[in-house]
Amino acid sequence: MKNTGKIVGINKNMITVEFEGNVKQNEVAYAVLDESRLKTEVIRIRGNRADLQVFEDTRGLKMDDVVEFTGELLSVELGPGLLGQLYDGLQNPLHKLAGELGFFLQRGKHINALPEDTKWEFTPCVKPGDKLQAADAVGTVKEGGFTHKIMVPFHLPDRYEVVEIAESGEYCVKDQVALIKDKRGSFIPLSMMFEWPIRKPVTSYRERLDPAEPLITRIRIIDTLFPVAKGGTYCIPGPFGAGKTVLQQITSRNAKVDIVIVAACGERAGEVVETIKEFPGIIDPFTGRPLMERTIIVCNTSSMPVAAREASVYTAITMAEYYRQMGLDVLILADSTSRWAQAMRERSSRLEEIPGEEAFPAYLESTIAGFYERSGLVRLRDGSTGAITIGGTVSPAGGNFEEPVTQATLKVVGAFHGLSRDRSDARHYPAIDPLDSWSKYTGIIDNRSRNHTVRLLSKAHEISQMMKVVGEEGITLDDYILYLKGEFFDNVYLQQNAFDPVDMATSEERQKKVFSIIKEIIDATLDLNNKDDARNFFNRSRQIFLDYNSSEWDTNDFLENERLIRELFHKYRKAGTEIETHIFRQALVESEMDSHFSRAKTAKTKKGEKLTMVKEENEEDIQ
């Protein structure tokens, strides 16, 4: 008999239900409203009353209306056919809904996530008698460019023996492809799909590994200075309009990973539309296939039900875990985790829980940590590896990072790309603040050069601040050049035009090359006699560099611009800057910067003495 209850309270999207049988935390129930059934989830049980969050509009419900409990946890469908789809937060396929309902969403309408009629070419990889456990493959199908493993459902706890396995051929997701039996001899039929509760991490792997390999985003400031690792986590906090979404959009396009899952969580619907409409037409240069084939969009935008928004990030990560089990690299881009946190806050307030800071619930931190912890590089039981990388945007109130969601996120991520209002106002995109951001991962440039350039930027910034006080004439020519070097590096390398077809994405190879040219310029002593000279030199270099950045790799244009840069540079490079003095010079600059950081003198060491000497020589030079 069906386990049912009846409504005794309604407060926005929260209903209180009186029940008699057994009710499970987080189980799904349906509130019956005329012809339709509204999906809900149990979120608190007290005595014979349960509080349920309703994933849809509750208008029209009334006292004593019937609620049917299902006994099932909130789950998603896993199987071939997920890629390329556009889902709402509860995995309803939105294109299909649009086909049936037209312009508007309609509550109480649910459609299965996986297309049931699509035929998949199945190739078995086991034979009767083989021993299997959860997540082991019984065969594969081709999904787009991927070899999609058909796996033993993750929830099966034991070891099983294959009794029957389907022959190669075409099957639909619900067709039986294997029959296995457990130790007690009961048979379990397997199809190509199964369900998994979204709030429970999938852990059918051998071990978690340290994320060491960089994930190439082809965004220069990220790959070069603040890299992200495959299997790592990072966050992008920033005030509104600073460029969080654009940054994620270009990442979803250009990142070198197998699969991208976009979780559009409580933000604008229009932003998702760009992705849906453009991706099918864009060819991924690495695979030669349409980008849409490697993308899944989970979209619960701001005017869609708030409770489903809370669930949507789990829907996304569960699908990511599924593909990771096949040994693939998955990137999740969640925009914005603050909206997700706010959904939690709304729910908590309706439950009348004791509020924490800014009315967020006390479990905010652990919940955020729990989400990011579902990332990781893992070794699977067959020895291969798979990874989930999570990048989440954060939308702090007032753009102030000292707020609960940003702070809780910073505690658990491996890289922080902080966007600044100053940079975005000045149209310095991507507006990642190089002085504020950090990354614990190793990227494509050695850490020493990385730190070196960040120090240059910081010194240049300091000089620019100083200039505000003492004026341009109040600083030395050397300082002025250092300042211009910082500006130059920022202008031509850190800034990247998201709308220029070439500049938009810079390959690893190109980054290494361009970075080395810039580094040469930055490290060199330049033959510039006064500040006007210096400014002109850098203005002209910048001009050529911008042309260089928008010329396609290895074309004539590209080579010509590179020649122009070198020509200009060699003209102004200080004559007789032999390698040795050059290295000293560089060491000098670095040590100056170090001392600037540590605020300690290093003159006592032997190396330090030498440096002081060089410094004096240089001072004479200038005079």
Binding site: V8, G9, I10, N11, T16, D57, T58, R59, G60, L61, K62, M63, L94, H95, L97, F103, F104, L105, R107, P239, F240, G241, G266, R268, A269, G270, V273, E274, I276, T301, S302, S303, M304, R339, Q342, R345, S349, P355, E358, F360, A397, G398, N400, D425, A426, R427, K468, V469, G471, E472, E473, F499, D532, R535, N536, N539, R540, R542, L546, D547
Partner: protein
């Protein structure tokens, strides 16, 4: 004509409570009191207790007053007869015209399926260079004017409304001062635009709950006209008042506030309204231009802050001008690639240079000697402000672009602008001999 009750057990703020059965969540009721009839909406059900939010406020309501449930939600009549009319927040005429009762539609209907949305593609020309050139307004955009009281924001709103080539203008006024209401109405009237306008007006003197209804009713009407193929521009002024009304009600309901007294769901509440902006395939569109006043010109105040996170950009109206700094139309890239090659790079370069100008100004204010290059920036800033920023300037986009190049060439050499050589060759004014750096 359904259930009638006359035992109200609790009255506080704008909320009354009574015992009733079979009542639907969100249902409408009418309360008859000595002050007249008022609508109320069911906002909570707890066992037998039903909480009603009274649109006209609870002042004058007695525990014995009659409460009649209507068994339906808030509705509005929809037809061409709406055009040229003025209503209040609950859809009652405030122009003395007839009450409309035909073709009732529910207010605050469902969300548009994201899969059915279109990528915006039409620019709305306003003749204001700070909008057309620097931050183009786009059909189906939702964008707000961030400003402070005292600025001529309603004038700007009216000017955009009159310039914009749209079929229907819907003006939603919230907490409007009566003379502002008259100004807006008279402007539309004198320019012959009233016949294609619909006004839903809540004035500062009206009950606070009715203020909350204004965006819903305006946008529901707009959405239906859009479904009938019309291009609709919705003007909402001032959304700060809408948010304050939400705050007042949340506090009466004893909700824990999240930030400066505003409820935790302020973001979702605002988003539910702004997200009604849409472009329907093979039908019309809804564009929303709103006013958000910022207390103390503080953009981190929860109202502008949440708005900024929802709208597709904002115009800062400050000292009677739209600031290039901070103002942003996020949809501009969909339209400014199709206008003229130089549109985008020129706009970027001019804003970057203007940022430097601001730095120079700061330096100057601190009493530093101005270098030659500084002086060039000072000149640039002045020319920019005079020829493009001044709100009295009205010109086409083409003219604005040409003006931009002229200003640059009068102040700088090409290398200083950071614009790509190819474009410099094509657009840099030739008359002046080029100085080599």
């Amino acid at each position: 004509m359904r259930k009638i009750y006359n035992k109200i057990t609790q009255i506080s703020g704008n909320v009354i409570v009574l015992s009733a059965t079979g009542i639907k969540y969100g249902e409408l009721a009418v309360i008859k009191s000595e002050r007249g009839d008022s609508f109320a909406e069911v906002i909570r059900i707890d066992g037998k207790l039903v909480y009603l939010q009274v649109f006209a406020g609870s002042g004058g309501i007695s525990t014995g007053d009659e409460v009649r449930f209507l068994g339906k939600q808030m509705e509005v009549s929809f037809s061409d007869n709406l055009l040229g009319r003025v209503f209040d927040g609950t859809g009652r005429p405030r122009d003395g015209g007839p009450i409309l009762t035909k073709n009732l539609i529910e207010i605050g209907g469902p969300t548009v399926n994201p899969a059915k949305r279109l990528i915006p593609s039409n620019m709305i020309h306003t003749g204001i260079p700070m909008i057309d050139l620097f931050n183009s307004l786009v059909e189906s955009q939702k964008i707000s004017i961030f400003t402070t009281s005292g600025e001529p924001y309603n004038e700007l709103l009216a000017r955009v409304a009159l310039q914009a080539k749209v079929d229907i203008i819907i003006l939603g006024g919230m907490g409007l001062r009566y003379d502002d209401y008259l100004f807006l109405k008279n402007t539309l009237e004198s320019e012959g635009s009233l016949s294609r306008s619909i006004l839903c007006i809540h004035t500062a003197a009206d009950p606070v709950v009715e203020c909350i209804m204004v965006p819903d009713i305006s946008l529901t009407i707009a959405e239906n006209f859009a479904l009938h193929g019309k291009k609709v521009l919705v003007l909402l002024t001032d959304m700060k008042n809408f948010c304050d009304a939400l705050k007042e009600i949340a506090i009466t309901m004893e909700q824990v506030p999240s930030n400066r007294g505003y409820p935790g769901d302020l973001y979702s509440q605002l988003a539910a309204r702004y997200e009604k902006a849409v472009d329907f395939e093979d039908a019309g569109s809804v564009t929303i231009l709103s006013i958000t006043t910022m207390p103390g010109n503080d953009v981190t105040h929860p109202v502008p802050d949440n708005t900024g996170y929802i709208t597709e950009g904002q115009y800062y109206l400050n000292n009677g001008r739209i600031e290039p700094f901070g103002s942003l139309s996020r949809l501009k890239q969909f339209v400014n690639k199709k206008t003229r090659d130089d549109h985008r790079p020129l706009m970027d370069a001019m804003v970057q240079l203007y940022a430097y100008y601001q730095e120079v100004l700061e330096k100057k204010a601190m009493g530093f000697r101005m270098t030659r290059s500084d002086n060039r920036f000072l000149k640039y800033g002045i020319l920019f402000e005079r020829n493009l920023m001044d709100l009295s300037v009205e010109m086409s986009l083409e003219e604005a672009l040409d003006t931009g190049w002229r200003i640059l060439s009068e102040c700088f050499v090409p290398e200083e602008t950071g614009i790509r050589t190819e474009l410099i060759k094509k657009f840099w004014p030739k008359e002046k001999p080029q100085v080599n750096a």
